[in-house]
Symmetry: D2
């Protein structure tokens, strides 16, 4: 706290915690606070955040509320989905991918309003602080970042609520006690962690899930859908053209209904510890499977395998907060080049937690029935070629075996 | 056919196709045929193969029928599962992993009986010819391999059946017409391809599935199970110790019942074309998820991420037939080293196609509630360390941003 | 030879071997031959090739002689150098990188003249056949490729010369006997292999080298030069702007004089055997070192390390003939993106086989004396940040050590 | 400095800086200091360190002076050389590879003497602090590490010397002024950085080099040597068996004489900045080239290419200080497996900065003159196999070209 700030842009949700931060910034730094509240599809009303900010003395022109849903899906979620990115084999990176966009806007607003710092409400134990800050520094190397959770002494729930009450911040009844777990949400997913989830042997209680029905309660009849892709991105659901955010929202509705996209995971944080998280990514899970489906007939093997080899690193970069790093951009350039012909239609069956690709077609299909058929192939493929192919692939193994026997 | 052979070991199933091959080898090369029939858990009686072989004049001491189920799971399936191998993101390599073992026995038997060649019934369009032959050459560089499908002129079903009838090979009624698809099976999976599956837009008809119930017909109540692991391998189901093959068989029963492990895939063959396959890997799918589950609490991040980066290449090597290549063995050495502490118990919920990890525990757990907790952590972790961590991770990005603005 | 061709474009050097091929094509296929002779900087007169072709009855409008030097360096050598590509740690891919360009022109000319096939003079044991043919097929999937060395029966030198004499092809005196080794040359390198080089224990005799002086005979005084780069490509030598081919030619002169770029290598061919080659890449070696030099101050660590990780695969793709494959293009897209700021000047010292970077500067330098200095850095870097950085990097190792003790 | 320590093991060179640290630890923490001085082949007398330590009141049984040369080369340098590790394409990791061994002994001694902390003299800007500390924590998660350079206020040369004089630490005359650069040395290399080397455009002055003659002053006559390898490690020079450290020392003498192994590099530090270093690795450079030479005839292509792909990550792990991390051990397991047959003899020519492999032979050679010969190969290789090999490798490219035209 040796530094001093005149004006600070805060990523502000309107909730108790970021309201406390807002006040704490005013009190601690004597600075002017600018609030930024993003609609990333988290499914909450944003206008109450404006009211609260005003109540805490923020100048109206310093209250920024932006609908970023289309930008989020178009420029962040979809590019990531082109890579088939899954961290540690499973996690669709729903929280990770939202952070760089929030930082981008924080930095832009800081420039607009002449702020010298930005602030966020992520704790010192998690990945989000890293993601916010790496993105901010990459976009403006002179920006200062304030992370109150790493600085203040409000380390217990009681201390936090005391501070709120001393500072006339309304404390909703249900926030008085400890929340049984912590969540993050946006158009791609809801994550939950902490408290009741901390023992990785205990099954996640049903009340933790907010975004999907229990597969057991999902319809007993499967539902079939189609998704159309153009150049690697989804463009239509059941033949109806949709914008990126609209498509993802519609898939979320379908996923919710059929109990799709629940994931209970113990993962490795960038800061060095393991944590257990519960993720619900209903639309994302459907979309991810569909994307692999359309790639399977339109992508060359060499391209597909290179993508698979690069994916773990790509996912790790996003998870660790390096969205705006040159190596992520290099990988993206390679991936995007591969998507030029990834167009066509995928048909999926949704049923009680399952989203299964059951058909795929494309004007750009590389699948050749003529080659693969068990029937007469009219000379498309000469089986005798396989003998030479195998012989030369075996040559080094033979030489090795001769030496080593 | 310019070569001549005295004695040939044939991978013999007892079915029509390999019976025709048996006879064709006798007729074409005038050679003595030795038959080898492996029990890999494909679920067929093997004694009829002995009877047929005897009928076709094979000397009793030249009829080999081996139960390889334990060796298959212990030395092939489990090592592969340690790598979390999935080809092209999904395929659990059920056919690929069986071929090297069959070749190993073919080559061993050839040595025992003094044969100068081995023969297999794989076609010239597929991957299996490559897998059989690369393995055979790697194990005995002087062995000859005969692949009748690449050599003969029995290229239509009619020609094949004519040949059978001319040579007194009984043709079962249901083999007279074209089979609607082609299958391969072993303890790990059943694969189906060809004919009715050739159009990748058409949904796989239900009659193609033989190994799992339709999820819609699976029980309406979830079933919970536990799998115990030791050093990366499964050792017990629901607390009951089992041998590798017994465990996989028991998981197959569970998977079948709950409709788990169906996969409809368009994949890239090593010989250069795309094909569409339908796989059922009921026990393998459950096992693979459980293995990732136990790794998630016992494997260090560095080890886990390295494994994820190496996996696509490892899976490709197995798919392409390079099980006995030095680079597969090098990767295996790295993977196996990582598994020393991968012991503990995973709890899964099986329900209508879903096999979800819901709990994991281990005496070797690296998960530290003390570190991750939202509560007071008694000094386990100093949140202020994160500031320095982020600063130094950001330094290069800042220098970059300063240069590029 | 069951196929028939009307018109065939031959990659024709004008030498004895390709003259024999020319005639053999005419005799064997009764086809019209179109000759294509490329100037890739191999340092031979090309007009004699025209005269010989005319003598063998090729129609003047069917004799193509193209100067491809600038295209070769600009579109093939430089892009490859951006990747710092070295096959198996050392080989600068001089032969490999020329083949796709020759194939490209063969296919273009085939289209122009309405030919139905192309032909090349590479043998069935080497990599070049693969490179020629993969490129040709990738550019025109319907083209036919004739590889006489894999088809004909002229398998001994005597048979070849007999054929030449019977067909009135002049045989130069020095071609009557066996040549003591075989060479390939272009603006990037000269390679030699075979015969006297076949025993990898024997030192390469001095007479094999044609492109560089023996370092022992090079000047006793070092020579300093500078190379300027823009966006990853060389643009000037000693401050004088030069086209790509001119620059490489000038560096070749310097490298020749100072004995730079000799390489004696046992390498692994794509077709499965090891071979021993002797390469001289005088200008290429200087250029490659300079390129790494300019990258060292202009490339971010993340970009640089990603490039290093991708390089072996990239080099292997070029070596194996996959220049026109999508995965090479994807890698190129990633690499090229990284080169946008790779501009500046490198200073090198050339001395008796050594080309050492001794200085580098750039308007885009990321090297910050302010950060790195042992002196007071005016707050650019807070050493205390390192403590947190190390603590969090160590956390997983500590958790591991606690478990495993 | 809120912590308190009873007994601290210091990595002590006997020089001015670590003597100041010794005293500072005594003064600041009031703790007992245990000194550890390692002979890693840095070429300095170690007994003076004992005398100085005694002078500063260290109890004789708390002065540890160990000759670690054989362990250093056998267990650290050679395993690393098996990987052909070079950081950022060039750097042979001479400093990086010594740090884990020093930490290992620090931690062992701490256990022996019941110390609660270890201390080192690395600054807060460099990589060495990271390497020391990660290794220490990985070996003993409860150990405390004191890094005085990050803690104290002796941030200028004057302050340091004042402290020395106030505390009766003798200050050698040549240490009064600023040293013109900073060095580190061990049996593998000498590194120099800082001060006169800080401008990467300026050529390194000749007086910086201490370990090699200027190539211009090296003998005018080349010298030929042989190195014998067994299972990937050097075992003899010119036919004379030598221990690891003896062999490396003898190669150092040869390299010094012939001016081999100088490297002027701008590299990327783990802590985020670029630095310019000058390295002399005379014996290491010769050894590294020889190792690649023996691998070139004894290693299968698959193994060799996998090693090349893994190398950048392996080198980065060592550079960043993760020697004792599981992922380094996994990579080592893969690499070591590949070395089982890497035995034989390499012949090199040493001449004015060049160390060139000119011959290699091995009882385990995979090089087959019979296969590679331009002469009649007695049927070892059927050139017609290449046609099928190429056809199937081309198939996916053809399908792609058909689609995309």
């Amino acid at each position: 706290m040796s530094e001093s700030f005149k004006r600070v842009v805060l990523a502000y949700s309107g909730g108790l915690d970021t309201s406390v931060i807002l006040k704490w910034l005013q009190v601690t730094y004597g600075c002017e606070v600018v609030t930024f509240t993003a609609d990333l599809g988290q499914g909450e009303e944003l206008e109450p955040a404006r009211a609260k900010a005003e109540l805490m003395g923020i100048r109206p022109e310093h209250i920024f509320i932006d609908d970023l849903r289309e930008e989020f899906v178009r420029d962040f979620v979809f590019p990531m989905m082109r890579a088939n990115a899954r961290y540690e084999g499973d996690y669709l990176l729903g929280t990770s991918i939202a952070r760089p966009l929030i930082s981008k806007r924080l930095v832009e607003i800081a420039k607009e309003v002449g702020a010298d710092a930005v602030a966020h409400g992520a704790t010192g134990k998690g990945n989000d602080q890293v993601r916010f800050e790496l993105s901010a520094y990459a976009l403006n190397p002179d920006i200062k970042v304030i992370a109150p959770w790493r600085e203040w002494d409000l380390t217990s729930r009681t201390a936090l609520i005391d501070f709120a009450e001393k500072n006339q911040i309304p404390v909703p009844k249900d926030k008085r006690g400890e929340s049984p777990f912590s969540t993050d949400a946006n158009l791609l997913h809801t994550s939950s962690e902490g408290k009741v989830l901390e023992n990785p042997w205990d099954e996640t209680p049903d009340y933790v899930y907010s975004r999907t029905v229990n597969p057991e309660d999902a319809p007993d009849t499967p539902e079939y859908i189609t998704i159309d892709f153009e150049r690697g991105d989804g463009v239509a659901l059941n033949g109806q053209a949709m914008s990126p955010a609209t498509l993802l929202a519609a898939l979320n509705d379908l996923g919710r209904k059929h109990g799709i996209g629940r994931l209970d995971l113990v993962e490795n944080r960038f800061v060095g510890m393991k944590s257990r998280g519960m993720y619900e990514t209903p639309g994302g899970e459907i979309y991810a499977r569909a994307h692999r489906g359309i790639e399977s007939i339109t992508l060359d093997r060499g391209a597909a395998h290179l993508k698979d080899e690069l994916m773990p690193k790509y996912a790790e970069l996003i998870y660790n907060g390096f969205w705006f790093a040159p190596e992520r951009e290099m990988l993206q350039a390679a991936i995007d080049l591969s998507q030029e012909k990834v167009s066509g239609t995928v048909r999926l069956k949704l049923y009680k937690g399952n989203a299964s690709v059951v058909g795929r077609k494309s004007p750009n299909s590389l699948y050749s029935e003529r080659h693969v058929t068990f029937e007469d192939d009219a000379g498309a493929y000469d089986q005798k070629d396989a003998a030479g192919f195998i012989k030369l692939n075996a040559l080094r193994l033979k030489l090795l075996a001769k030496r080593d026997r």
